[in-house]
């Protein structure tokens, strides 16, 4: 199963590396969101600095929708999904692989956004350990839930509008948890942050487990 996951993740990342859609479109879009927030909230540095954690995660959330949509779009042309189904790979492995590929892209994006937040909003990075662990736990949850919903919406004519409606409410706990943990880290009071990391961990475990179980039957009829 893990070998299959590595194969699928490698395939997805190789395609992304060559097509450069993630780097040329998704990443600039995420940075653009940061700039738009600055326009919306006025260039008042104090306000932007205080809201930095939340704005960062909202940008990540929107990018997640794009990333998982893209991850399923890879399979939609040339009957790639049928090929994947017939390949004999373990469906759980396919799920983990696709989620892992999305997670890698999201982590890279978060590094970029982190730099953007520091530069544009003037939020000083502190509490590095909590920041990193939060980012890892939140990304695992985002990628797992996102990949699960992306395959649910795959092959629908209304998928562009349906996926955000389905996915974003489900991701609300991640937004809350990751934002509070980041705030705790940035305020230099990491104590509370670890509770939130635990919540993010539970979320990630629930969705990885559910996705591993349900992906096979969903992929069958995608």
């Amino acid at each position: 199963m893990l070998r299959d996951a590595v194969l699928v993740a490698g395939k997805d990342l190789r395609i992304e590396g060559r097509s450069r859609i993630a780097t040329n479109q998704v990443a600039p879009f995420a940075v653009l969101i940061l700039v738009l927030f600055a326009f919306a909230l006025d260039a008042d540095r104090g306000l932007l600095t205080r809201a930095a954690a939340g704005l960062f995660w909202v940008a990540v959330l929107f990018s997640t929708v794009l990333a998982v949509q893209r991850s399923q779009a890879l399979e939609s042309s040339d009957g790639a999904r049928q090929a994947l189904r017939l390949s004999g790979l373990d469906p759980a492995g396919i799920f983990l692989g696709k989620a892992a590929a999305v997670a890698v892209q999201l982590l890279a994006l978060q590094v970029l956004l982190g730099i953007g937040v520091v530069v544009l909003y003037g939020a000083g990075p502190s509490g590095a350990l909590l920041l990193v662990v939060t980012a890892l736990a939140a990304t695992a949850g985002l990628a797992a839930a996102g990949s699960l919903y992306a395959v649910l919406a795959a092959g629908l004519r209304a998928r562009e509008t349906l996926l955000p409606l389905l996915l974003l409410p489900v991701l609300a706990p991640v937004l809350i948890g990751a934002t509070r943990a980041f705030e705790a880290a940035l305020e230099g009071a990491p104590g509370m942050g670890w509770d939130w990391v635990r919540l993010l961990g539970v979320f990630a475990v629930v969705y990885v487990a559910f996705g591993t179980l349900a992906y096979g039957s969903l992929l069958e009829d995608a």
């Binding site: 699960l148 649910l152 092959g155 629908l156 004519r157 209304a158 349906l162 409606l165 389905l166 409410p169 489900v170 609300a172 706990p173 809350i176 948890g177 509070r180 509370m192 509770d195 939130w196 919540l199 539970v202 979320f203 629930v206 559910f210 349900a214 039957s217 969903l218 009829d221």
Partner: protein
């Protein structure tokens, strides 16, 4: 004009009722109506107004608000349970899928009512329509998730595929409730000044108010049963109509092509179970039903 009834009597299938009411549901409906009348009397006449902390007469909103919320959560639990039964291969049948859909529709309506009555009550008592209280926020998120669920039930897709996806969405939405509730609760308790806006009324109500509330919950449970039975029957008939329309369309095409009518095609199978479909996978995508 052929009606559904003609269609099935002609093809010898089980007769289809022309209305969704039966003797049992009429009794149920009558009892519900009576109970609603009694509830109105209890809520507006018999029970006393509350103290100033609960907004005097505005407390009467509680007798609709709390039962609506109860009904909404009940219907989502039923929806999740039916979805699970649908996904489990040994109990898979259209029955569970349609029941899940009927329950979710009723629940979504009542969760909207819960939010509306709660907002009006909040405006009178707290001075604001909305507060980011844990229970309110969870309910709002649940509302949006079930709108998504209903959207999935409406997409144009092979019926079985759609049902399976909807079932997965229904289960996830329900599983997500405790996570959302916990996260929102922590979010508020960690970041809010001691709240005066608690929605706990329970310790302060007693006597007739408590009985009225309990009676409201009972009444709304009856109402739920009545609504879901009828919604389910309508959905079931719709389902049969689609199958009948499909069968007729196939028979017409065959007649056009000069083939003899194939009795196996005309005797349209009831929608229960994964029926073998003569038209292949393409024909099973929600057919544009030729209006009878």
């Amino acid at each position: 004009m052929t009606t559904l009834r003609d269609e099935t009597t002609r093809t010898g299938a089980r007769p289809v009722p022309a209305s969704t009411g039966t003797a049992a549901t009429r009794v149920l409906g009558g009892v519900t109506l009576l109970a609603l009348g009694v509830l109105l009397y209890l809520a507006f006449v018999a029970s006393p107004a509350a103290g100033p902390s609960q907004g005097f007469d505005a407390v009467r909103f509680m007798y609709v608000h709390v039962p609506s919320a109860w009904l909404a959560y009940l219907s989502f639990a039923v929806c999740a349970l039916c979805s699970a039964l649908y996904l489990w291969r040994r109990t898979r049948s259209r029955f569970w899928d349609l029941l899940a859909g009927a329950s979710a529709e009723v629940g979504t309506l009542f969760i909207a009512l819960t939010l509306v009555t709660g907002s009006i009550w909040g405006r009178i008592t707290w001075g604001v329509y909305w507060t980011w209280d844990a229970r309110l926020t969870t309910t709002a998120v649940l509302f949006v998730m079930f709108l998504g669920y209903l959207a999935v039930r409406r997409v144009a897709l092979d019926v079985e595929v759609r049902s399976r996806r909807a079932a997965v969405v229904g289960i996830i939405a329900f599983l997500n409730v405790p996570i959302v509730h916990n996260s929102v609760q922590w979010w508020r308790t960690l970041h809010q000044e001691p709240t005066v806006l608690r929605t706990d009324l329970s310790p302060q109500i007693e006597g007739l108010m408590l009985y009225t509330l309990l009676f409201g919950v009972l009444t709304f449970t009856l109402l739920y049963a009545w609504l879901v039975v009828h919604r389910f029957r309508v959905a079931w008939l719709e389902d049969r109509l689609e199958a009948a329309g499909l069968g007729r369309a196939i028979a017409e095409r065959r007649a056009e092509a000069g083939l003899d009518e194939d009795p196996a095609v005309e005797g349209v199978p009831a929608p229960a179970g994964p029926a073998p479909d003569p038209s292949g996978p393409a024909g099973r995508t929600t057919p544009e039903v030729t209006a009878p």
